[in-house]
């Protein structure tokens, strides 16, 4: 199995080189995306096969890289879960891109990097030593950076690309430090050697903190998320889908691999920062999604929210594990893994829908769209499934993982530390707030784009997207429904990963009656998405039939009533800004929102202006001062560039004395 997976990764990397050669041909795009889709599908099959057969983990060593180390690869249950995620997400994005790529202006800017990006992510998931891991991680970052810069002529893209590069470099540096600390004095960079090392609690805490910064910056954890809402939307839509749906999960994989697998036991208090950061990230992410008015940026902010939710689950798992409650830790970890899987499905679907809308209208601003349910009926149906799933509504899949997480939160009285006992329900409350805000956010997203009347000519004349794109979106929508209605199958599939990491798993769900989910015990809680869907379908269908059969089926079209004052101008509809107004006011403190109304003096015919400004608090409170400090320091240090030779020599001499003194004291 491992040979096949490694081979697929290398094939994807090789495909990048091939794409660089054939990029000029007219069929290049179909060839590259088609081949990527096939390779990804095989990758998904490898992952699922590995999980279903519960095959033993396999290792291999390729004699490349550092001479004494080589490149270690390893395929175990955790890798297999994320390989499945990558395979499904990659295949869907590639199939979508076969259609979407036809509209691309400069395909040669995307094609050479796209398969390599997928291949590098595969290698990250397979890596079994720090060197291979970091190298693949860096290739993944650089290739995704190149993909972000596809539309490099826009100023906004260039600044997003620069920010991404800085943050990615910073993240990798922190990861390097984390692995250095893990390797210890002997320098065992092999993961197998790292597992053996005994660490002091303080060192383990330091590694965990570094992983939160390093992997968290890639995943979009507060306050390191600032690059994400700029970079993810700037890329072409299928790449956005990959970055949000899959690459953030690869970052999560890095965190889980190190913290749950390599690091060994951790103290309970180390779960506190993970839970707190996760809960804050979830709420702040979705708040920003609620007030942003760019369709793809809304989705990127919602990615931040979902990453926060997953981190709360991981923090809970850490808390339970440190208390020796492996079964409950498995429940929390399962909630996190299932949510990662679900988020890949619906976020990719929504980015693709936003891409289809972008293609059809050329617009990403919500206020330039509207009424697309009439012009793009199929995309509208698929996007509706996506928004219902992401808003965590039963019976779709987003609710399943949210429900599992709440079940884990409700087990918190069993924790023995009062600190955690108080923290976890509060985090649960914040999660509930995030879920409710997500519903508001996606009513706005869907309502402004697809419902109502078109606000511009571009929206009025939009046409339905191509068949390839619809196929990819349809597949993802189908999986969203499947994972929501038959969640037991997905849970049993992922269970080997929790078994490997925690030596515990949820009870097998496959044989429960009516596909019911019973995570702990039936007297405690159960949920059957299948029956909920069945009941809603039966009672909805029966009531509709009865009403049409025995009451009235007459229908007349007429202008909208609107309390007697309908206005023909579509601008009078509720738009992105007006829909967000109540939440913006209620949460003004957290959003740093500012509204100003400029009224012209009486008699002046100029229109009044209403401007809304919301700021990302992390940016204005942390990054702006930081950048200013760096600039000031750099300006000060600039003077050192223009010294006389005598001064340089004395500087060197002084430095030497200082270091020698330091060495003397050290010894």
């Amino acid at each position: 199995m491992i040979e096949i997976a490694a081979g697929l990764a290398l094939c994807l990397l090789a495909l990048s080189l091939a794409a660089a050669v054939v990029r000029g041909l007219s069929t290049a795009s179909a060839f590259v995306y088609g081949a990527s889709a096939l390779l990804c599908l095989v990758l998904a099959i490898v992952g699922i096969w590995m999980l279903v057969t519960q095959a033993a983990e396999a290792e291999m060593r390729i004699p490349v890289g550092l001479p004494w180390l080589g490149a270690h690869l390893r395929l175990d249950a955790l890798s297999a879960v994320f390989l499945t995620l990558l395979g499904v997400g990659g295949a869907a994005a590639s199939i979508y891109a076969i259609g979407y790529g036809q509209h691309e202006h400069e395909p040669h800017r995307v094609l050479p990097f796209y398969p390599g990006f997928l291949g590098a992510m595969t290698l990250v998931l397979l890596a079994a030593d720090a060197f291979t891991f970091l190298l693949s991680w860096e290739i993944m970052s650089l290739l995704s950076w190149a993909l972000v810069l596809t539309n490099h002529r826009a100023d906004e893209t260039r600044s997003a690309g620069y920010l991404y590069l800085v943050m990615a470099g910073f993240g990798t540096m922190v990861l390097l430090l984390a692995f250095g600390l893990m390797a210890g004095a002997e320098g065992g960079y092999d993961f197998a050697a790292m597992r053996e090392v005994e660490r002091s609690p303080l060192l383990a805490a330091l590694v965990l903190a570094l992983m939160m910064v390093g992997a968290g910056s890639k995943a979009g954890l507060l306050p390191l998320h600032v690059w994400l809402p700029a970079a993810h939307p700037a890329a072409p839509s299928h790449v956005s889908a990959l970055m949000s749906g899959v690459m953030t999960k690869v970052a999560l994989y890095g965190f889980i691999r190190v913290v749950f697998d390599l690091l060994g036991p951790v103290e309970w208090w180390m779960s506190v920062p993970v839970i707190v950061t996760g809960a804050m990230t979830a709420v702040m992410g979705i708040l920003f999604a609620n007030v942003d008015s760019d369709s793809k940026r809304v989705l990127a902010y919602s990615t931040i929210e979902n990453i926060g939710v997953i981190f709360v689950a991981l923090g809970l798992a850490l808390a339970f594990r440190s208390n020796g409650m492996e079964a409950l830790a498995a429940l929390a970890l399962m909630a996190g893994l299932i949510h990662a899987m679900n988020h890949m499905l619906f976020k990719s679907l929504l980015f693709m829908a936003a891409g289809a809308v972008l293609n059809a209208t050329g617009r990403r601003d919500l206020d330039g769209l509207g009424g697309l349910i009439h012009r793009m009926p199929k995309t509208a149906v698929l996007a509706l499934i996506g928004v219902t799933a992401i808003a965590a509504l039963p019976p779709l899949n987003g609710f399943v993982s949210e429900w599992l997480l709440f079940q884990a939160v409700l087990q918190s009285p069993k924790l023995s530390q009062p600190g955690l006992q108080f923290l976890v329900p509060a985090a649960g409350g914040l999660l509930a707030l995030a879920a409710a805000l997500a519903a508001a956010c996606f009513v706005r997203f869907y309502g402004v784009i697809f419902l109502g009347r078109p606000r511009t000519d571009a929206a009025r004349e939009a046409v339905e997207t191509d068949r390839w794109s619809l196929t990819a979106m349809g597949g993802l929508a189908g999986l969203c429904i499947m994972a929501g209605v038959l969640p037991g199958g997905l849970i049993d599939l992922v269970a080997p990963a929790t078994e490997m990491l925690l030596a515990a798993r949820l009870p097998a769900q496959a044989n429960n009656d009516w596909f019911t989910l019973v995570p702990v015990a039936e007297v405690r809680s159960s949920y059957s998405g299948f029956l909920v869907l069945l009941f809603i379908a039966i009672s909805g269908g029966a009531s509709a039939w009865l009403v049409h059969r025995f009451a009235s089926r007459k229908l007349r079209r007429a202008p909208a009533w609107d309390c007697g004052f309908p206005n023909a101008d579509p601008v009078t509809q509720y738009g992105a800004g007006s829909f967000a107004q109540p939440i913006r006011r209620v949460m003004a403190l957290m959003l740093d929102a500012n509204e100003t109304v400029v009224m012209p003096p009486p008699g002046d015919m100029t229109p009044a202006r209403h401007t809304i400004r919301t700021k990302d608090l992390a940016w204005s409170r942390i990054y702006v001062p930081l950048i200013a400090a760096i600039n000031t320091a750099a300006t000060r240090l600039n003077a050192l560039q223009f010294l006389t030779i005598r001064r340089y020599l004395s500087l060197v001499f002084g430095a030497l004395i200082l270091l020698l003194t330091g060495l003397a004291i050290w010894n």
């Binding site: 509207g370 349910i373 009439h374 219902t388 965590a392 509504l393 039963p394 609710f399 949210e402 429900w403 709440f406 079940q407 009285p413 329900p425 509060a426 649960g428 409350g429 707030l433 409710a436 805000l437 519903a439 508001a440 009513v443 706005r444 869907y446 309502g447 419902l451 109502g452 007297v523 405690r524 809680s525 159960s526 949920y527 059957s528 029956l531 909920v532 009941f535 809603i536 379908a537 009672s539 909805g540 009531s543 509709a544 009403v547 009451a551 009235s552 007459k554 229908l555 007349r556 909208a560 609107d562 309908p566 009078t572 509809q573 509720y574 738009g575 007006s578 829909f579 109540p582 209620v586």
Partner: protein, 318 residues
Amino acid sequence: MELISNLILQGVQMILVLALAPGLTGLVRKVKARLMRKQGAPVLQPYRDLARLMRKEVVLATNASWLFRTSPYMIFAATWVAAALVPTFATGLQFSWTSDLIALVALLGSARFFLALAGMDAGTSFGGIGSSREMMIGTLAEPAMLLVVFTVALVAGSTQLSNVVVYMASGEVGIRVSMGMALIALIIVAVAENARIPVDNPGTHLEVTMVHEAMVLEYSGRHLAMIELAASLKLLLYMSLIGCIFLPWSIAPASAGPSAMLFGFASFFAKLVAGGVLLAVFEISTAKMRVFRVPDFLGVALMLGLLGTLLLFVSRSL
């Protein structure tokens, strides 16, 4: 045998909630009118309204899509399924394990989601104002509701409603501060979710002050009937939820005989009447709030829910 009796119970319950829901709405209206020294429409008026609306033709806005036409049935179905899973007069419901309290809250969330989308569909300003305000109220009411669920689940050790009811009725519970807080929080949430005064005014004709009514402004005929029925069902659901968690003693256990069932039924009826009268008294004794006061009102529920949960961690007996 048990399966059949449970299935019958489930069926009776589904028909019962549907049959009683408009009556409850009518009762609240009648009591309110009487308290204001008006004659008021008969209690049965909502049934007549529904029948009349069902017979009328639908006038559909030119721009309305299929979503607008199917939403009423989806909203009704989700609310009905939720209402059918709350024990009213007996606990032995065949499908009570289908969804627990958390899923119940989320089912009502689904209904709200589609109602808000339908409000956006016709492309009018009133629909949008209703939708955006409803979602704002929802973002605060839903977490408060979930914190209440947490409190109840921590006391009863289950999120499964039938088990909660059995535990609450068992007398092990006693009087607890946390449950008192949960009760107040749940009542506040119920008032907000059902668009009652002081959050929203169901009887007003001034559109600017409305939330729920603004959202459904474009609906007519059978579609409006389905939505009104769903709204009545939701009111009944919250009343039976409060009844079955906080006053569970008269609910017949799973294997009870006909007399216990009849008693359970009679007491359920009495609970509804008492709840309806109390709601009417509460409504006429307060004034409607400004929309941006509502967050403060719901914030109280949120804080009480959180306090109730945290108190249980201080001491299991509080």
